[in-house]
């Protein structure tokens, strides 16, 4: 057997894994800000909601493969190796995000929380309708918590225009303001009802 430099290679492997994880995070643009949690055992999760609903989900295993042919090894520079790992991280991020959005869509459909516009264009009305359908949390200073809108890339221009309309069209702006006042009131009532009674 030829010398393997096993300790050194293990060290490099550790750094490569870390590099891959960081690049994966970088490419997960859509789900980067979603709170994450490491789970150490089991096969899935179960959420028992206050409403009595129970949501169950199982873990999925996602993986990607990439290969380095033997003949490539002698001339493989660190830069090229990192590029390969980077590509793999991107591929993995795409896979995970795709699964995430599919799962979200599936759950929202199941719970009847989907607004289907049946091919109609994305407008300010769509935003108002979406805001109306969700629960919004507010901070003590009266401002709402950060909201995110996740869209397909081809919708970018339409969404920009919809937000522009919402800010500039007096009628739409008024409806938006009234909706947010209503949402703040809903939140206030909700918070006031957090009580242990009796």
């Amino acid at each position: 057997m030829l010398p393997d430099y096993i300790v050194l290679k293990k060290e490099i492997n550790g750094v490569l894994t870390l590099f891959m994880r960081k690049r994966f995070k970088f490419y997960c643009t859509g789900i980067q800000d979603i709170p994450k949690e490491q789970l150490f055992e089991g096969t899935g999760m179960k959420i028992q909601r206050a409403s009595g609903d129970v949501d169950e989900s199982t873990f999925f295993k996602d993986s990607i493969e990439f290969s380095i042919p033997y003949e490539e090894v002698p001339s493989l520079s660190l830069n090229s190796l990192l590029q390969k790992v980077d590509r793999a991280a991107k591929e993995m991020a795409d896979k995970v995000q795709k699964r995430f959005y599919l799962k979200i869509n599936e759950d929202l459909d199941r719970l009847g929380r989907t607004v289907n516009h049946k091919g109609k264009p994305f407008t300010a009305e769509t935003i108002l309708e979406a805001l109306d359908s969700i629960q919004i949390e507010f901070r003590p200073d009266g401002k709402h918590n950060d909201l995110q809108i996740h869209i397909a890339p081809q919708l970018e221009e339409a969404v920009k225009k919809a937000f522009y309309d919402l800010e500039t069209d007096p009628g739409l702006k008024k409806r938006h303001t009234e909706l947010m006042i209503q949402k703040r009131e809903d939140w206030r009532v909700r918070e006031a009802s957090r009580r242990l009674v009796g």
Binding site: Q38, T43, A50, R190, G198
Partner: protein, 551 residues
Amino acid sequence: MLERLLEGWLDSASERSYQGPFCQVLSAKGYKILHSTRHCALEYGKDIIAIGPDGMPCAFQLKGNPGARLSLTGFREIQSQLVQLVSQPIIYPGLRISEHRSFLVTNGLVEEEVHRALDDLNRGWAEQGAIGYPVELISRGQLLADVQEYGASLWPSELEDVNKLLNLLVKDGKEHYPFDLASEVLKDVLLLEDDVAIKVSSNEIGRRITSAALLATITLRNFYRERNYYSIICGWCMYAAHVIACIERHVKSYNKNAKAAIEIAMASIYAALSDLCDEIKERRHLVEGDPLTDAVSYRGRYTLIIALMSCYWFWGNESGFLKDGQDAFLTKFIPRDFVHHYLWGEGAVPQILVYIWYLRATEAGIRPDLLLGALLRQIIGANTQKNNNGLSSPYYGFEDEIRHLMREFLGVKEDPYQDTKFQNSSYFAKPLLYLLVRTNLKQTAKSIWPSYSKMLHKHFVPDSKWMYCLYRSVKGKNVDDQPLLTKEWRELQQEARECRCPEVPAPLADNKFLLLLFSIIFPFRAIPSVVSKLDRYFNGSWFIHEPPIER
């Protein structure tokens, strides 16, 4: 190779560290162990008292001669103990005074002169009609044959598993007991792997329980050598829990197949707690190892030690086995307030809880209940505050927290928490709220509720009961419980009355000290029903009008 491992262990084992495995072998041979606890006020003049398979009482005197010979000089030094062994009857509650068999046990070789001297003594005792005549000798050869027969023959033999075992054996005895590796090898011996058929005879299970005990002993060798009592406790707790998992999984009688082995393991745990108490008593300070860096770990260790000593205080008082001076020492040593405790994460909660129970047991008045309220407030406060990472979940240990806090200073490549936010969730807020409800501190509970109701309350439910006893359960669900916005106090009281814990196998749920230590060692197993049960065991007060639901 496994035989060589056993030989190596036997040749380095002190008297104290081979007593437990020797008892396990005796038990496997059909002896009923009545007494094997050392270091206690009630010494019966014999290290081990047992009833033989033939019904004859037996007394064993153990000597440690690791890697050496019992010489004539050494033999003369212990001769007075042998006189006691052979001439004084076995005095043990419930055992009538009668003839008994006496054994001198050594893990060393025995010189020829000693055999001769023992023969002479036995002849003398025969003429005197001594009650325990003659003294029989069990030496290294016999011990080795026994531990090989009951141990190594069932140990993992696949290369990968042998590697795990070897990795365990080279662990630094000053470190934490390696739960992951130990669990892997125990699961293998106790047939707890998923792919193992469950049609196994009771005899086979019994043999495997003894074999696993010997395996646990070997893995604890370095920890015994360093007198790392906490790791010794972890090792035996882990063994006991895995044995219960085995019994539960293979649907065997606990009393017939595992009770004796677990009682021996519990005796080893008790002895380790007693030794730890003695060590603390002798020390002038609790700094461990290099003082330059110990400031980082001091408060975490302190919190753990107070928990272990609180547990020992309960156990010693209940069994009446606290050694002379230990009770008074513990009363002085265990503090009356939280000042030096460190709530480094939710993993520390069971440690602080047992301390609160100790306070509850030793002082009248409302103060311990207020401390419970303060602990709950602290958890909820830390985990609902904006821009705060929150207290780590009980799946993370003290070392993870320190690595996280000092990650930049240490140049740690990857934060152990890996971007996990613990905000708005908790594993212990729910069980602690139930305990608070039992104290009837209604106003405190009311003031906590608005923040409490914003959190997700987490625990893990394994698919089968036996999986609860494992370090990690492959099958099961991570449950998030979302409370109602408005709740009736009365309804909360009804929930707080619940003291059964259906998720836990009965032999573990019924063994209060094992369950308590298991919860301290594996805090993620201190699920709400277990905390409720432990509270009933260790907290005598109850302020709900209706009685607890225990059956």
